[in-house]
Amino acid sequence: MRPHLLHRRRDLELERDLPPRASDVRADLELDAVVAAMADGDSFLSDVALRVLLAEPPDAETVRHRQGILQDGLAHPAAIREMYALAVEAVESRREHWWGMSSRHPSGLLHGAVSLLEALFGTLRKVRNLADDHAGDLTSAGLSRLVATLEAELSDDYLARVERELDRLSFGGGIELGARLGPGNEGVDYVLRAPREGGPGWKEWLFGGRPEGYAFEIDDEDLAGARILSDLRALGLYDAAVAVGRAARHVLGFFRALRGELGFYVGCINLRDALDAAGAPVCIPEAEERGSPTLAYRQLRDVSLALTRGAGVIGNDLEVARVRLGVVTGANEGGKSTFLRSLGLAHLMMGAGMFVAAESFRAGLPAGVFTHFAREEDAGMERGHFDEELARLSAIVDALEPGALILLNESFGSTNEREGSEIAAQVVRALHESGMRTFFVTHLYAFARHAFEDPPAGTLFLRAQREPDGTRTFRIVPGEPLETSFAQDVYREVFGGAAASATDG
């Protein structure tokens, strides 16, 4: 029995390593701000959020599975939060009983497992009741399946039966073993018999119906004898202890999975609330099949900027287009990096099954999101700047699958424009031909111009918008690459007056 709220047929694996290059993506797209908003102070939620966002993207059906659950959650946040709290409660209860569970002796193990199960079943009952209460509200395939499972598997009869069995498993009336005589007339084939206390016919048996038995007692001082009895008990209990131990681990596993998976949705609800408060729109994106070049958005915003600046943040628009390559040129500080981030985040969140910070968003699911952003030149670096850039690019290439999304931000800028353009042209062409989707923010005019004159199929040219008087709108709109990057404007702004001579692009 498993919740399967993130994947349809398996669990979220919290212990696995993050995919290669994940830490770069996290830094470049400023994921920590998003994750912090999702976590709202809960470090467990922050870990789950990070993992789901950075994980290998699932297929379209799984994304829709998650979107359904998300919609239920956004509509009925209290239910999700309550169930999450119960899952947390269950996982925490393990702490009290773990000493028994890790005991080497079957008796200790049995005792620990029984008490853990008693606690866990208490919580299971509450979870089921909660599910019952909200059955009508939760319409997504994922959640209604979970509710149905809980109702079917955890009926009142079953829960009562478990309670009874757990009670008997404390063997208050002693342990009864059936046995045969083996070689040397030693006892063999020990079989645990059902404990009589509390069972059918118990009173009759106790008060007179017993068949003739032969009894003896171990002396108080007989330590060896006591140990032998303990060994016999252990032998008889072994299989039952293993069965109960496994059951306890599995129920705990169910709650762990529930906690992690619900945690993700709780994080989404937290983020939606924060974006709402900041006046930023959210929408459930239309996710197309992996590798589809479709791209369309209305009022797409950068999430971390939206969280801090709220409604004042500029959104970008794009009519439906088939985009395999996007080249973004234009003024410094014109919003290009922000745009790139917002695009990256939107794809990442869509891939995770979340909403997107836009009024509408439609794109093909990426086979992974990769970033190659210019780094600060670091005096302490062992390699030259350009060398480091190319090494980093190579590492990304190792991890690419067709349909991946790559965001290049001022790549190859650490060498002169001619060289940089030449290399850029080769890289971009190779990526395009291999089925990748590339977005390139660049100052390499030679490259951009050349690409504009002979663009590969599905190329979109975008430009940081600039009013005639030089003010920036921070919008990124379709437009051909222009030679200058308006450094003049910036110079004027900073120093006042025109520059003495034209500066290099």
Binding site: G174, L181, R193, Y214, A215, D239, A243, G245, H250
Partner: protein
């Protein structure tokens, strides 16, 4: 049960229950020829069978030797050997159970072990009977045993033993009981059957089974064995249903000494052969030959091809390639091998080989070599230098002569005498004189002799002496080949070659020294 005279002996054809007095392990020849080491090696690990004594009883007549060689022939058949090894293993287990039966403090447990021993015994006897019938041994020894075994297993007494043992074990295995452990109190009940509660538990939580469950498997506890608690539980079981336990007691009393002594003796005697075959097995695997010699009454032809010192082979285990096999022969009037040559050339080894082959042949066992003809003997005498005796030379010589006189006084045409450098500690002249006198006596006695000596003159004493020489490498006289061949004694020839090699012959010295 039947007297052990019923069962024939596998070692002595006339079925004697008592064998002749074994040779003392301290006997001079036994140690000089390194037979003590050989026997110790061969019997290692089989102390329980007490084989040592049999290895110290050489047979006197060729028919007894043949009787044993026939058994060896049978045991060299793989299937027959395997069947007998299995029988031996079962009986070892039986002994283990019987020891348990004797040692255990809890009567019901001890008696059960006793019945188990009986069942093991019966299974072993019946299997062996079946195998022997099927495999048809050729030796008189095994055929006689097989026939007797067949009668034994068909006898009424045996049938009772076997069926009672089976019935009791069956009865005991059908007993079911329950133990209730509550605090310090233990209660034993009859078992009415019923569910395995573990199944109920597993069922209850079945819906929570998952992958990775198999990984969670803590160590299963060991069963507690027989002790004062489980012993009392067993007492309780016996009280609940005394019938089988009473029969257990009766069985023990009625069949108290069930293993037939004749079968036990067979168990021991067959180990004599198995120990030897196991001992020589590895040597055979590394290419050294063993054979069943043709043994006739003395005096007769004595010869061997490609034989070697078995104790030396044991020392050189792992380096069998270094062993050099040799031949020897005494035919017609020849009765004495005179072996000369350089020191450390293998002469003493040859002398030992001659002695070992005679002795081992007299045990009826396969001996080193590709083929051999040997005779039985009335006594085997050796004279090897004893370092631990009298220090001064005169004392040593006297000692030596006393021993030689003893040898000579008892030597007959049926004896074997081996002398190894007996006069090494006297002057050449004296040695030669004494040597001639002793040789005269030996020739008169008619014994078969091997005499290792530096007195090359003795090699041509008369038509009864044969000269054998330890060869050196013609290229380099310093190199020994360990090959010993019949040829004229070389006297000082090898010394001359050595001197030439080092440039210290006269001629060379004249060239080298200043005039």
């Amino acid at each position: 049960m039947s007297p052990s005279g019923w069962f024939p002996s596998l070692l002595f054809p006339d079925g004697r229950a008592a064998a002749p007095e074994p040779v003392s392990p301290e006997a001079g020849f036994f140690r000089d020829l390194h037979l003590d080491r050989i026997v110790a090696s061969a019997t290692a690990g089989r102390g329980r069978y007490e084989l040592d004594a049999w290895f110290r009883i050489p047979l006197r007549d060729p028919d007894s030797v043949a009787y044993r060689q026939e058994v060896v022939g049978d045991l060299e058949r793989e299937e027959l050997r395997a069947s007998i090894e299995a029988f031996a293993a079962s009986l070892r287990e039986m002994h283990e159970r019987l020891e348990g039966a004797a040692e255990l403090a809890w009567a019901h447990a001890a008696r059960r072990r006793f019945v188990e021993a009986a069942r093991l015994y019966c299974d072993a006897a019946e299997s062996l009977r079946d195998d022997l019938a099927r495999l048809e041994p050729g030796s008189r020894g095994l055929r006689a045993f097989a026939e007797r075994l067949g009668s034994y297993v068909s006898s009424a007494g045996y049938a009772t033993l076997a069926s009672e043992a089976s019935e009791i074990l069956m009865e005991l295995s059908e007993i079911r009981y329950r133990v209730l452990i509550r605090g310090d109190r233990v209660t034993v009940f009859p078992d009415e059957g019923g569910q395995d509660y573990t199944g109920v538990v597993e069922d209850t939580f079945a819906k929570f089974r998952g992958d990775g469950d198999e990984a969670f498997r803590p160590e299963r506890p060991e069963p507690p064995g027989m002790n004062h608690v489980t012993g009392r539980i067993l007492d309780g079981v016996a009280r609940l249903g005394p019938g089988p336990f009473a029969r257990l007691k009766a069985f023990r009393e009625e069949h108290a000494s069930f293993p037939d002594p004749g079968i036990l003796r067979f168990e021991r005697e067959v180990q004599f052969y198995l120990a030897w075959l196991d001992h020589i097995g590895p040597f055979r695997s590394s290419g050294l030959a063993f054979c069943r010699p043709r043994v006739s009454p003395p005096p007769g032809e004595v010869s061997s091809t490609a034989s070697f010192d078995l104790a030396l082979a044991e020392r050189l285990r792992g380096r069998e390639g270094e062993i050099v096999p040799n031949d020897f022969r005494l035919a017609g009037p020849e009765r004495c091998l005179v072996v000369t040559g350089p020191n450390q050339g293998g002469k003493t080894t040859l002398a030992r080989t001659f002695g070992q082959l005679h002795y081992l042949a007299a045990l009826g066992l396969p001996v080193p070599g590709r083929e051999a003809r040997l005779a039985t003997f009335d006594r085997l005498c050796t004279h090897f230098e004893r370092r631990e005796e009298v220090e001064n030379l005169r004392g040593r010589l006297k000692d030596s002569l006393v021993r030689i006189r003893r040898i000579l006084s008892g030597a007959t045409p049926e004896s074997v005498v081996i002398l190894n450098e007996p006069f090494a500690s006297t002057t050449l002249e004296d040695a030669l004189a004494l040597g001639r006198r002793v040789m005269e006596e030996l020739r008169r006695s008619g014994a078969a002799v091997v005499w290792v000596t530096f007195l090359t003159e003795l090699a041509g004493f008369d038509e009864g002496t044969v000269s054998m020489v330890a060869l050196v490498d013609p290229e380099d006289p310093a190199v020994r080949t360990f090959r010993i061949e019949r040829r004229e004694a070389e006297g000082l020839a090898h010394a001359a070659a050595l001197a030439r090699k080092h440039g210290v012959t006269y001629e060379r010295l004249k060239e080298r020294l200043p005039a």
